[in-house]
Structure formats: structure tokens, C-alpha cells
């Protein structure tokens, strides 16, 4: 299935080399975590290696699936369907936007 992933983070863009990209994955039931593990960075680490710590989304990042923060869904175990749009953002704007 095809998915779109957008990296609203300078550090992540530097590591992975893109702002927005479409990716193709094989699988019937994939989770957000599966997809993050699939996206590789330039230095061999995956996106999951960077944004997940202790089994949770690192406090530095927020992940949105189709416009919803995955924390309000099923976290990293949230299932993703074909055509899904994932955005990984720095939480730089947390206090401003998340007031």
C-alpha cells in the first residue's frame, strides 16, 4: 500500500533527506510503528530509531496520522490503511500551538 510521510523537523529532514515522500509498503495490517521502522535514514538508522524511545514517541516529536495525534488514538500501535498520511513534527510549537 502507498502512504505519504512528511517530516516537519529540520533534524529529521537532514537525517532522512526529504520533507515529504510517498512510500510503498507491503502488508495487510500495518501500524505506525511498522512504518517508522521501514523508513531508513542516511546513516543506517530508521525513523523509528530516532523518534521512539523506551517504546514511546520521544518527547521531542509528535506524530499525526491523517491529522490526528496518535497519542489520542492507539499510539504507535495505531493501524494505518493505504493512502494514510503521517506527519512527524518537532514539538517546538507545543506550548504555542498546544496551549
Amino acid at each position: 500500500m502507498r502512504l505519504k510521510i512528511t517530516l516537519a523537523s529540520g533534524d529529521l529532514r537532514q537525517s532522512l533527506g526529504f520533507f515529504s515522500a510517498e512510500i510503498e509498503m507491503v502488508g495487510e495490517v500495518l501500524t505506525v510503528e511498522d512504518i517508522l521502522k521501514h523508513v531508513g535514514s542516511r546513516n543506517g538508522r530508521t525513523l523509528a530509531d530516532i523518534v521512539i524511545g523506551d517504546g514511546m514517541v520521544s518527547p521531542r516529536y509528535a506524530i499525526f496520522l491523517n491529522g490526528q495525534n496518535i497519542e489520542t488514538l492507539q499510539g504507535l500501535k495505531t493501524p494505518v490503511k493505504g493512502g494514510g498520511k503521517i506527519v512527524v513534527m518537532d514539538v517546538i510549537a507545543r506550548i504555542a500551538g498546544g496551549l
Binding site: K4, T6, A8, S9, G10, R13, F19, S20, P59, A62, F64, N66, G67, N69, E71, T72, K85, V87, M89, D90, V91, I92, A93, R94, I95, A96, G97, G98, L99
Partner: protein, 828 residues
């Protein structure tokens, strides 16, 4: 001389004479704005518009506006010193700013402090974070609810509150004037309040001053300042201890009241699920709170595994009998008992109402409160008590009751790890995170004041740390100040200390419309458009409605000014952090909802482009800026399903366990670092603690500040129409004092007096009245000294002079400061 009308238009837009943004229509004739009226198509204000909104025209045509960028010439700064300016090009002014802020950013970005109060462009609050400094604060603490917002969020994910005037029959308003003089969406609220009164709603106002609300109420109850929390505890005592009348079903089924608390003050939880236990009286068994077999959860008593949290509330409330409370508040015990009885009888506990085919509890009684009631030394505790006097009658977010109001969109309510409302103090999109840190990074010490929105309440702490960074543990010296529509010298407590802090900054840049006490200290002025010349959208703590209002230019910019958002973008590009700034905008405008509309990292966007993307991403591809412009706004009434019981099956707190957890974290941190810090405000159950003003026996009178419908913060005092009304007002230019008190002091009505507190002094003219508690004096938004010819010559006295910015006058959980003072008054 004849004139020809060739172009006569009414243009819809959004007001910005206060933070809330009523819908307006602007009458423009031949390119000249001649009239502003309320927009009858906007369900928020329904065509109503307050005096400020009508007077907005004079903001546009203010002759003293900043007409182009300016650099300061001459170095002296201070009160009474009129700055001298050299007009320069935008490029010259921006170059100076970029040189200074770029140098600081390369060295240590924390050395930049920012002071931002742009409420209708709140995305600008994220600019400092994109720059790389944690130091940003608003300066409206005297007028705001820095402890109110966190307790609202902990309770039901709300930011503010409002009585459900659709159904409420009995409203107690404490230290607030909603629907009369100030607070949420005044124009629409005044109409809703008038309708509720006409319907027969009884209104009781508790306030040291006979406010407009009190004057129109059924009953006015004068009270000693900063004792409102004790009053709420007294009401609770009557309901819970003396009458045993409260909504037991609501407490059992919709709150954490039955959850068992252990000796450590934390819930006793199931190890696997992390869910709290309750004690089921039906079969005398310990069960997880959401076990479907629970039939009769205990609210009172003590059990081997723990004590129901409601019992702990009861234990505390038992201490606050009306006789004790009367001594503190000066409200007679019999009045407290009568009001409590009237309140609970009006609540109709057990009643229901069917709306759109759905059955809701009906609780047509509410306690509404705001700044005057709870912006005090122990504001968090006051707020918890004032919230719980609502919760115990089961009126939270139900018809007729106490409604949570989000800052925008929906309430931030969702399950925490235990399946109850998350109970966190702010409305985060992400998880609440707090780690105390030594040395702290921020000038407002947010690292040590974890529960409040530090930039709201703790702004005044920056005045302390800027002056003495080492004393307050900072390991750097703040150097520069970036001001965006914020007037710290006027709005912050302990004026003389704030002025010293302003003088200490080596470089100050101000983005503003016209001169203020703050911009008088600037080295560079970057002039903003007025709201009548610019684009924006704003949804800000609106009761009953949802969706953004829409601001569009009603006239072309009159001068060589720029939009504040565009100024922020330009600076971000020149200072090489445009990607981070665009990320702030992506986040704030929720462009991640449709990634195709997200701002690309290295491209600068103007505000029109950003708004176009915002509307398309949030309302659908067809909602271009042009289409929204034609419609005029995106505001609609909330449906009953959106308004009532948004928490559904999620339990809300009567026990703020979060506060206990934070206290443990703070305890550990301070034990490890050896630092001294007052943690008395960190409690899961409210109590009432004295403020330093109650302990100040050297001064005899309490001094309070009150709000007027004519003004919002300090900005509107520069408006000549509003000034004219104000100076003709029978009370506003004066300090209000009780007639009996004047007689005791040997003074006369209209006499000039000297007012003195521990922290400052000023002269003022007194006005005698029976409409104020004998131990209290009151003043409003006056006493400017800035170079603006209208604001700076209006007279009156600034209340902030008498307040303290010290930590000993600060709520250490939320950062709110004591907004009442203790003063002496003598003939000048």
C-alpha cells in the same frame, strides 16, 4: 463643497479591541472607514458591539501611530523621558535587529527575552521557541487567570468557564463580571446574560466592590480580597457536612471521588492496568473503578486498602464551618448558610432534561469566578475550591451548570493511562511533560513552576531574574528584549522593579502600533498594521460557539507598516530559522491535517498564503481565502452534543492526584539539589491559606484593581473616544473608598491622597461610595505615563505600583501573583 460617494461598502471582519474577536462590519466610504458595527450574521456577538469595538476606528486613525520603522536617537530611557526617533527604511531597521538578535542567537539564544501579548495571532507566541529561547512571557497577569486555566484543564480539559445561561436559574458570580463588564466575549455575553435575567435567573455577586454586575444583581455580598477560596470552602461545608446535599450519583459515576487513596496521597492502583481501586459496599470488595460489577462504590469511610478521595475532601471541608469562614471573609455565617441552601435547592439534583432526543442531567445552578476570586498568592487552591463547589452538585458541563470553554476547538479531554480524564494542567496536543532542571533555563523559572502556563502567570518573575540572574540561579545574563504588542512596564506588578529591568536590557525591539510604556524603551520600532488593515483568524475562549472569526483589511494600510506575522517570518528568514518558524505555523494552524498544505521548510509565506492553507486544510479544499472572505467568518453555534458532557464516560477529578504526583517530583528534585522552594501550593485537595496581604498589619486597607468594559489590558487607554467616556465616568478616574472609611481617616470626597504600599506609592483623587467594602479601595486601568498623548495624560493611578513581584507573593505551583495589595492612605 460637495463630495461624491463613489465607493460605499460594508466589509465583514473581526474586532481586536480586546482579545476575543467579535464579528464586525466596517462601513467604508471612498476608502475611509466611517463606522464599525457588530455583525448580525455572527452568532457569537449577534450584532452587539461594546464601546471598545465602536471606538476601534480611532485606533486606525490615531495620529501618533508608528508610521514607518524607527531607530532611537539619544540613549536615555525612563519614565517621563520622551524617546527621540529617526525614521528609517524597513531594510535598515531589520538589519539592526538582525545584527543584534543574530549575535545573541549565535552566542546563547537564551539571552533574548521576549514579551508577547498578541492574542489574535497566538502563533507569534511560538516565534521565540523557533528562535531558540525559552524566555517569553505575556504581561497581563494582573488581568488574567494564570491559576484558573490549569485547574480548568485538569478538571475537564477546558481553558476557561462560563455559566450555561441557556438554562441556569441561580448564578453566584465571585470576583468576576461576565456578561456585564469584562471577561469572555463581552458583547455576546451581555446579551445572553440579559436574556437569562429576563427569564428569571437569580444573580448573587460576591465582590469587594459594587461592580456593574453587583449593581444589577439580586444580591451583592462584599468580601475581603483573596478570601474567595475560603468562601467556597464554607459553602461546601454547608452542603457536605451540615445539609448532606450534593450529587452523590454524579460523584460516584462521573468523578474519581470513589477512588481509594493510599497513605502516600496517591491512588491505590491495580498493578497491571494502573487503574485505581474503589470499595464496593454492595459486597464489601475491592474492585477496579470501572469493573462492571461495581454496584455501590463507597464515597465515605476508610477501608484497609485506602480512603475514598471524596472522604478526603470531606475531611478538609469539615474544618471550614461558616463561623470560621465568616471571620476570614467578613461574610456573615448566616449569609453563607443561606446562599449554600439557595444554591443547592436551585440545582435540582436528580433532575434531567431532554435536548434533541438525548437526556442530560439538569443542574440550573452555577458558581462562576475569575480574576478577582483567584489571582492570589494561593491561586491554585482558590481555583480548586471554586471548581469543586460546582463539581459537588454535578453541574460540570451539563445544562444549566458550569461549562468548560476551550481556548479554541473542542475541550482537550481524552483518557489518561488509567482510563479517566488525563487530569493534566495545560491543554497539550502532546503529553504533559515536566522535568525540573537546575540551573533553570528560563527567566520566568518555568522549570520550577510546573503547573501554570509560565508565560501567563510567571511573567513577572522575569523582572526578578533579569535584574539578579545569579540570585535566581540563571547561568547567563539576559541582554535583549523582543516586544510584540506587550506592555510589561504598565501591566506587570511592582512597577519600579519592572522599570529597572527594562533599563537593564542592552537592546529592545518593539513591534507595535503606537507608543506605550514598553515601546518608549525600544531601540527599534517595527510598526505593525492595525487590525483594520490586516489579515488574521481567531477563535479564542468562546462560550457557546465554535470556529474562527476572520479578519480582513477594511482599508489599505495607511502607512509604511507591515503585518506582525510577516515581520516574524522576515526576521526568521534573515536570522536563518525559517524552517523552525514554519514548523510553528504548521503546528498552530494544524496544517498537518492535510500535509499537502504544510509550509515547506525554506520558503517564506505571507499571512494571506498561510490563511488560505489554514482554511483549506481545516475546512476543506473548497474553502479558499477568497471564499472565506465572502462568507465573512467561520463561526457557528455549538451543538448540544458538543456543549454538554464532553467527558462522556471519562471520570473527572474531585481529587487532583496530579498535584500530588508533581509534588513528589518536586520534593525529590529539591532534596537532590538542596534548593529551598515553597511547595505548600502543591495539594490534591484544596484548603485556604493566608496571603501575605492578610499578614501585613502595617497597612490598613486592601487595594484591588477592577476591570471596565471600556478597556482591555492597557492598550485601549490610548483611544480618545474611550478616554472621553472614561474621564466623564463617575468612578473610573478615581480611587473608590467607602464613605465611612473616609470619615474615619478624616478625609473628604474628591481629595487628593497619597497611597502607599510596601512596594510603591502614588497620588490619586478619592471618590467616596457606599459600594465598596469598608476595608477596601479600588482602582481601574489608569495612571499611564507613556509618550502617547492620549494614554499618557489621562490621569488616575496604576494599581501595579502597589503590588509585589516577589516569589513570596507568588503561587509557586502556577506562577500567578497576588493581585490585591495592602495600602495606607493619607492626605497628599
Amino acid at each position: 463643497m460637495s463630495s461624491t460617494v463613489s465607493d460605499d461598502r460594508w466589509i465583514p471582519s473581526q474586532c481586536y479591541m480586546c482579545i476575543h474577536g467579535c464579528g464586525i462590519i466596517a462601513h467604508v466610504v471612498n476608502g475611509v472607514l466611517v463606522k464599525i458595527e457588530g455583525n448580525t450574521d455572527d452568532p457569537d456577538n449577534m450584532g452587539k458591539l461594546c464601546a471598545k469595538g465602536n471606538a476601534g476606528i480611532m485606533k486606525l486613525y490615531d495620529a501618533t501611530r508608528f508610521k514607518q520603522p524607527m531607530l532611537r536617537v539619544g540613549g536615555r530611557k525612563g519614565p517621563g523621558i520622551k524617546p527621540e526617533w529617526e525614521r528609517v527604511s524597513w531594510d535598515e531597521a531589520l538589519s539592526v535587529v538582525v545584527d543584534e538578535l543574530g549575535r545573541i542567537r549565535r552566542k546563547d539564544p537564551r539571552k533574548l527575552v521576549t514579551s508577547i501579548a498578541e492574542f489574535q495571532r497566538m502563533w507569534c507566541w511560538g516565534w521565540p521557541l523557533a528562535y531558540g529561547t525559552p524566555n517569553y512571557f505575556t504581561a497581563h497577569g494582573t488581568y488574567c487567570g494564570s491559576a484558573y486555566h490549569p485547574v480548568n484543564a485538569m478538571t475537564d480539559g477546558s481553558f476557561a468557564t462560563f455559566p450555561d445561561l441557556n438554562y441556569c436559574n441561580y448564578l453566584i458570580m465571585i470576583g468576576a463580571t461576565d456578561g456585564f463588564e469584562a471577561h469572555l466575549h463581552l458583547s455576546g455575553s451581555a446579551k445572553r446574560m440579559a436574556d437569562a435575567r429576563r427569564r428569571g435567573m437569580k444573580l448573587v455577586v460576591v465582590d469587594p466592590r459594587l461592580s456593574v454586575a453587583a449593581a444589577k444583581a439580586d444580591e451583592w455580598i462584599p468580601i475581603i480580597p483573596a478570601t474567595d477560596g475560603a468562601f467556597a470552602l464554607g459553602l461546601m461545608h454547608v452542603l457536605l457536612v451540615e445539609l448532606d446535599r450534593y450529587d452523590k450519583e454524579f460523584i460516584k459515576n462521573h468523578t474519581n471521588g470513589p477512588c481509594l487513596v493510599g497513605p502516600d496521597g496517591l491512588f491505590v492502583r491495580d498493578e497491571r492496568t494502573r487503574k485505581p481501586y474503589v470499595w464496593d459496599l454492595h459486597d464489601d470488595t475491592l474492585k477496579i473503578y470501572d469493573d462492571p460489577t461495581v454496584r455501590e462504590p463507597a464515597l465515605t469511610g476508610e477501608y484497609g486498602a485506602g480512603t475514598p478521595s471524596f472522604q478526603l475532601l470531606l475531611n478538609e471541608v469539615t474544618k471550614w464551618n461558616p463561623e470560621k469562614v465568616a471571620k476570614i471573609t467578613d461574610v456573615p455565617a448566616k449569609t453563607i448558610r443561606r446562599i449554600a441552601r439557595e444554591y443547592v435547592e436551585a440545582a435540582q439534583i436528580g433532575a434531567t432534561i431532554t435536548i434533541n432526543g438525548r437526556v442530560y442531567p439538569l443542574r440550573p445552578a452555577c458558581v462562576q469566578y475569575y480574576r478577582g476570586a483567584q489571582s492570589h498568592k494561593h491561586g491554585i487552591l482558590d481555583n480548586m475550591a471554586l471548581k469543586l463547589i460546582n463539581t459537588i452538585i454535578g453541574n460540570i458541563d451539563v445544562p444549566g451548570g458550569h461549562l468548560g470553554v476551550p481556548v479554541y476547538g473542542q475541550l482537550a479531554i481524552w483518557p489518561g493511562e488509567d482510563g479517566m480524564h488525563h487530569g493534566m494542567p495545560i491543554n497539550p496536543i502532546e503529553k504533559w511533560q515536566f522535568e525540573p532542571k537546575f540551573p533553570p533555563d528560563s527567566t520566568h523559572l518555568i522549570e520550577f513552576v510546573p503547573v501554570g502556563q509560565g508565560h501567563f502567570g510567571g511573567g513577572h518573575i522575569s523582572a526578578l531574574t533579569v535584574l539578579e540572574p545569579a540570585k535566581y540561579m540563571l547561568n547567563y545574563e539576559p541582554e535583549a528584549l523582543f516586544i510584540l504588542h506587550c506592555n510589561a512596564p504598565y501591566n506587570m506588578p511592582e512597577t519600579r522593579r519592572v522599570l529597572k529591568a527594562m533599563e537593564k536590557f542592552k537592546f529592545i525591539v518593539a513591534v507595535d502600533v503606537y507608543p506605550s510604556e514598553a515601546s518608549d524603551y525600544a531601540d527599534v520600532i517595527l510598526p505593525d498594521h492595525t487590525y483594520l488593515e490586516s489579515w488574521s483568524m481567531c477563535e479564542s475562549e468562546a462560550p457557546f460557539i465554535i470556529g474562527p472569526g476572520f479578519r480582513q483589511p477594511v482599508v489599505k494600510p495607511l502607512y509604511d507598516t507591515r503585518d506582525a506575522t510577516d515581520i516574524c517570518s522576515e526576521l526568521a528568514e534573515r536570522l536563518e530559522f525559517l524552517d523552525r518558524w514554519n514548523n510553528v505555523l504548521n503546528h498552530f494552524f494544524e496544517l498537518y491535517k492535510k500535509p499537502e498544505y504544510m509550509l515547506e521548510p525554506d520558503k517564506k509565506y505571507c499571512i494571506e498564503e498561510i490563511l488560505d492553507r489554514y482554511f483549506r486544510a481545516n475546512f476543506g479544499d473548497e474553502w479558499s481565502l477568497e471564499r472565506v472572505r465572502e462568507k465573512g467568518h467561520m463561526v457557528r453555534l455549538r451543538t448540544p452534543e458538543e456543549l454538554y458532557m464532553p467527558y462522556g464516560r471519562l471520570r473527572i477529578p474531585v481529587y487532583y492526584e496530579f498535584m500530588q504526583r508533581v509534588k513528589y517530583k518536586m520534593d525529590r528534585f529539591f532534596a537532590e539539589t538542596g534548593l529551598q522552594w515553597d511547595l505548600s501550593d502543591f495539594r490534591p485537595i484544596p484548603t485556604w491559606l493566608e496571603s501575605p496581604i492578610h499578614q501585613d498589619l502595617e497597612h490598613t486597607l486592601y487595594a484591588i484593581n477592577y476591570k471596565s468594559s471600556l478597556h482591555a489590558f492597557s492598550d485601549s487607554t490610548a483611544n480618545p473616544w474611550l478616554r472621553e467616556i472614561m474621564l466623564r465616568h463617575p468612578e473610573m478616574p478615581y480611587v473608590l473608598i467607602n464613605r465611612d472609611t473616609v470619615a474615619k481617616l478624616g478625609l473628604r470626597d474628591g481629595e487628593k491622597v497619597r497611597i502607599t504600599s510596601k512596594f510603591g506609592e502614588a497620588e490619586a483623587v478619592i471618590k467616596t461610595t457606599e459600594g465598596i467594602h469598608p476595608n477596601v479601595v479600588a482602582m481601574t486601568n489608569m495612571g499611564h505615563w507613556c509618550s502617547h498623548p492620549v494614554a499618557g495624560t489621562a490621569g488616575g493611578v496604576n494599581h501595579n505600583i502597589f503590588l509585589s513581584a516577589g516569589l513570596d507573593y507568588t503561587d509557586m505551583a502556577t506562577g500567578v501573583f497576588e493581585t490585591a495589595a495592602k495600602v495606607n492612605i493619607e492626605r497628599a
